[in-house]
């Protein structure tokens, strides 16, 4: 393509784009809502524009409009999308068919869900090129293999023979990038391509995408909510909120000298001041050399894990997916009885199995889940959800219970008006707050937080973390904080356990764990956390000592 078109000049010009959808609230007449309010953008050939914002900001909707596509019921009602000098919205269905997969390609967030599990990778990668007749099968496959090589996939010659489930998540995401590049488009829309990946894998995929973009001179729209990630790959950044443009500028300007207050909030979101507490003399919960496995398999998910938790303090457990963090939580709660080892609570051993634990022990250990919307019964009101532990553990009834529920709602910074609401009527952050209130209602000594902020937007997650820290001071509750996000760990932990393939590889006070010299894995983990700094990616890749488990 680079030969047919000049290497510079305008590629995409979106003018006053307006996107609407019709919502059908039951019992009311259908009404129109505007998702994108007259947004304009331009993109030159070979450049990368990052679209960033929280969920609902309209980033994906704008990204998809560049290929004339509106997701389920979304309509493009105004403006022009000029690609390669013509308005694609006027081309009709035929026009879209010629455009999609040839001039514009799309890389989805969840590669695992975007690939057809019944076809081999190669067939799916070359499909677009073959359909458009831009290459013969042999040419397309040669090109695909070259792309696999460029994206540093293992066994580039034969990986195309595999089915989607036979490669890891990070590899699949790179295959998807190869798929987008294979038909040599002018523009690729990357929709959160690394959000679902571990930090250690994300860095590989990010580097691969960046190299591929540079070498093929393709232009890209890079959609993400993570400013640090977008800072590595984009030339320009566009900040969006509620379907409106907030700020648009060069990458350096946006991250170094944001002009808008909202951008500033996004840039500085990760910093929470937290004074590390010295561990007390006696831990109230001690996990001693626990080994656990699922089913009757001989593969141990936890190998000889020991950690201590002190009253009113936070132990953060970090590691990539599959490292056994959540399994550790399940072993402590009794959902997965360990094969060996014990959990000691207040100086006495806890029963291994959940069914054998007395109510009082259950009350002391509460849990908050990653997905707040499935952690609450959708058929119960907020009042029932928070009130149930009060009835169950303390036998509170009637007015006494309602009063306590109101107090708890107050503690999580939500008003009394929420008592009658159902979970479906709450936002993501509010749902997580209700879950926090539910666990607090039991007055526990320990709350296990399993990736509680991972599914939330950065600003909302920030609020949740501050709330958790505040509540810790008030209630003197300890947290076992499971996460893969090191920025979160830095801001809330007192001690840290780093897990890798079922083992604790590094454990101690926060300051000790985060001070060199590091072991290889901790080093990899720490160096993989994207920093809001241009050129960080290259530096990080150069400095790495081991490859991540995902590869």
């Amino acid at each position: 393509m680079a030969d047919k078109h000049p290497k510079s000049g305008m590629l995409l010009d979106i003018r006053n784009l307006r996107i609407e959808a019709t919502v059908y609230p039951p019992g009311e007449p259908p009404k129109n809502i505007v998702l994108v309010h007259d947004v304009s953008l331009t993109l030159e050939k070979g450049k990368v524009l990052g679209l960033i914002g929280e969920s609902g900001a309209g980033k994906s909707t704008i990204g998809l409009s560049s290929m004339g596509y509106g997701r389920g019921g979304v309509r493009i009602t105004g403006g022009e999308v000029i690609l390669n000098g013509r308005d694609i919205l006027k081309g009709g269905k035929e026009g879209f068919r010629k455009l999609r997969g040839r001039e514009v390609c799309y890389v989805a967030q969840s590669a695992a869900a975007a690939f057809n599990p019944a076809h081999r990778l190669m067939d799916q990668v070359v499909e677009a090129a073959l359909l458009h007749g831009t290459a013969t099968r042999a040419e397309a496959e040669r090109r695909a293999v070259a792309l696999f090589k460029k994206l540093s996939l293992p066994n580039p010659e034969s990986i195309g023979e595999r089915f989607p489930h036979q490669v890891s998540g990070g590899q699949l995401q790179r295959v998807m990038t190869a798929m987008a590049l294979c038909s040599e488009p002018d523009l690729i829309v990357f929709d959160e391509p690394t959000t679902a990946l571990d930090v250690t894998t994300q860095i590989d995929v990010l580097a691969a995408i960046k190299d591929a973009i540079r070498d093929t001179h393709v232009a890209a729209l890079y959609i993400t909510h993570d400013l640090a990630v977008v800072a590595q790959v984009s030339d320009e950044i566009m900040v969006l909120r509620h379907g409106r443009l907030v700020e648009w500028g060069g990458t350096r300007q946006i991250i170094k000298e944001p002009r808008q207050e909202y951008t500033n909030a996004l840039v500085s979101v990760h910093q929470i001041e937290h004074e590390e507490q010295k561990p007390g003399t006696t831990p109230f919960l001690a996990v001693k050399s626990i080994t656990a496995a699922y089913g009757r398999s001989h593969i141990k998910v936890l190998k000889n894990v020991s950690v201590d938790i002190y009253p009113g303090q936070t132990l953060a457990v970090v590691g990539e997916s599959g490292s056994g963090k959540s399994t550790l939580a399940r072993a402590i709660t009794g959902l997965l009885p360990p094969e060996q080892g014990t959990v000691t609570f207040d100086g006495r051993p806890l029963a291994n199995r959940l069914a054998e634990r007395p109510k009082e022990d259950l009350r002391q250990l509460q849990m908050i889940y990653q997905m707040a919307d499935v952690a609450m019964n959708p058929r119960q009101t907020v009042g029932t959800i928070i009130g149930r532990p009060l009835e169950f553990y303390f036998g509170m009834r009637g007015r006494e219970r309602d009063k306590r529920v109101a107090e708890l709602l107050d503690k999580i910074e939500m008003g009394k008006g929420f008592v009658d609401r159902y979970p479906a009527e709450l936002s993501g952050g509010q749902k997580q707050r209700v879950c926090i209130a539910r666990s607090l209602a039991a007055k526990p000594k320990l709350i296990i937080c399993d990736e509680v902020t991972s599914a939330l937007d950065p600003l909302v997650a920030h609020g949740i973390l501050e709330l958790l820290l505040g509540l810790q001071k008030e209630e003197n509750v300890a947290y076992l904080f499971i996460t893969h996000d090191l920025a979160t760990v830095k801001s809330i932990a007192d001690s840290i356990a780093v897990m890798y393939r079922g083992e604790v590889v590094r454990y101690g006070a926060k300051s000790k764990v985060l001070t060199p010299p590091f072991d290889a894995y901790t080093d990899l983990l720490l160096s993989s956390v994207p920093e809001m700094e241009i050129g960080w990616l290259e530096k990080a890749i150069k400095g790495r000592r081991m490859a991540s488990a995902g590869n």
């Binding site: 259950l362 058929r379 009658d420």
Partner: protein, 274 residues
């Protein structure tokens, strides 16, 4: 909260028809023009001002027979459905929650029952047992509960792995709370739609049994039995058999219209507030 104007027309039709049937059934002894077994005229008289629906094969007033028939039909069908649902749903939910040998045992037992065609099973059991209302209801209820068991177990197995059920288990809740407060409200939608369907199957099954002579015994008759009594008339161009048949059909449709509407309302996760 319930505004008649907001009820969609199909549901309204369903409600009116169902209400009509139910009222006729309940009030039969008071509003029926004649007694159930009373012979009031000639055989198979046509419709007239005196006998609105004509008379049947023995000269009994068909309208009165239809009302008494509705009484028996609805009574048996409602009780059989209630039995099949309570039995099937509770056992199905328990199987999902307890799992293990309890689940295996129940599920294989249900498979065994289902492997025998319902009608043949019903015929065999009913010809052995004394033929009265209680046996009829029990047989229909138990045979139908296998279907409900299958559905409830499948739905509950999905719900049982949700985080909120895990949260309840971690809290230390008993199985009763988990089954009735966590699982049941979330399994209601598929169960309600099944309820409408199962009720109609009960009516049809009862009609089939009566038609074969194993259901309600004369001189009482449900609608299926009335089709049987009057079926010979069809040869002579007499429509008496079609009237109970039409009643079965319209009851089937109207109950399902209502069930559909209830289903639509209960699927809202926002307490019907929009």
């Amino acid at each position: 909260m319930l505004d008649i104007k907001r009820i969609p027309i199909p549901a309204l039709v369903g409600i009116v028809l169902t209400a009509l049937f139910v009222l006729a059934a309940i009030l039969a002894p008071w509003i029926a023009p004649h007694g159930n077994g009373e012979i009031v005229g000639d055989v198979w008289e046509p419709m007239s001002a005196q006998h609105w629906l004509g008379t049947d094969n023995l000269g009994r007033d068909l309208l009165s027979r239809m009302m008494y028939g509705a009484r028996i039909t609805l009574f048996i069908a409602v009780l059989a459905t209630a039995l099949s649902f309570s039995l099937g749903a509770i056992l199905g939910f328990s199987a999902a929650v307890f799992g293990g040998w309890f689940d295996t045992l129940l599920s294989r037992l249900v498979d065994l029952l289902m492997s025998i065609p319902t009608l043949i099973m019903g015929l065999v059991v009913l010809s052995v047992l004394p033929s009265n209302l209680v046996t009829l209801i029990l047989v229909m209820g138990i045979l139908d509960s296998t279907r409900v068991y299958r559905l409830s177990r499948a739905v509950a197995v999905d719900i049982n792995v949700m985080d909120y059920v895990e949260a309840a288990k971690l809290r230390g809740e008993g199985e009763g709370w988990i089954i009735f407060r966590e699982i049941l409200p979330n399994a209601l939608s598929p169960l309600v739609s099944e309820l409408g369907l199962r009720f109609i199957y009960a009516v049809l099954f009862l009609s089939t049994l009566s038609f074969l002579g194993l259901g309600v015994q004369p001189p009482d008759a449900d609608w299926g039995g009335m089709v049987k009594e009057n079926k010979d008339g069809i040869v002579f161009g007499i429509a008496a058999a079609l009237i109970p048949a039409a009643a079965i059909a319209s009851l089937a449709i109207s109950v399902n219209l209502v069930a559909d509407w209830v289903l639509n309302r209960t699927t809202s996760l926002k307490g019907g507030r929009g």
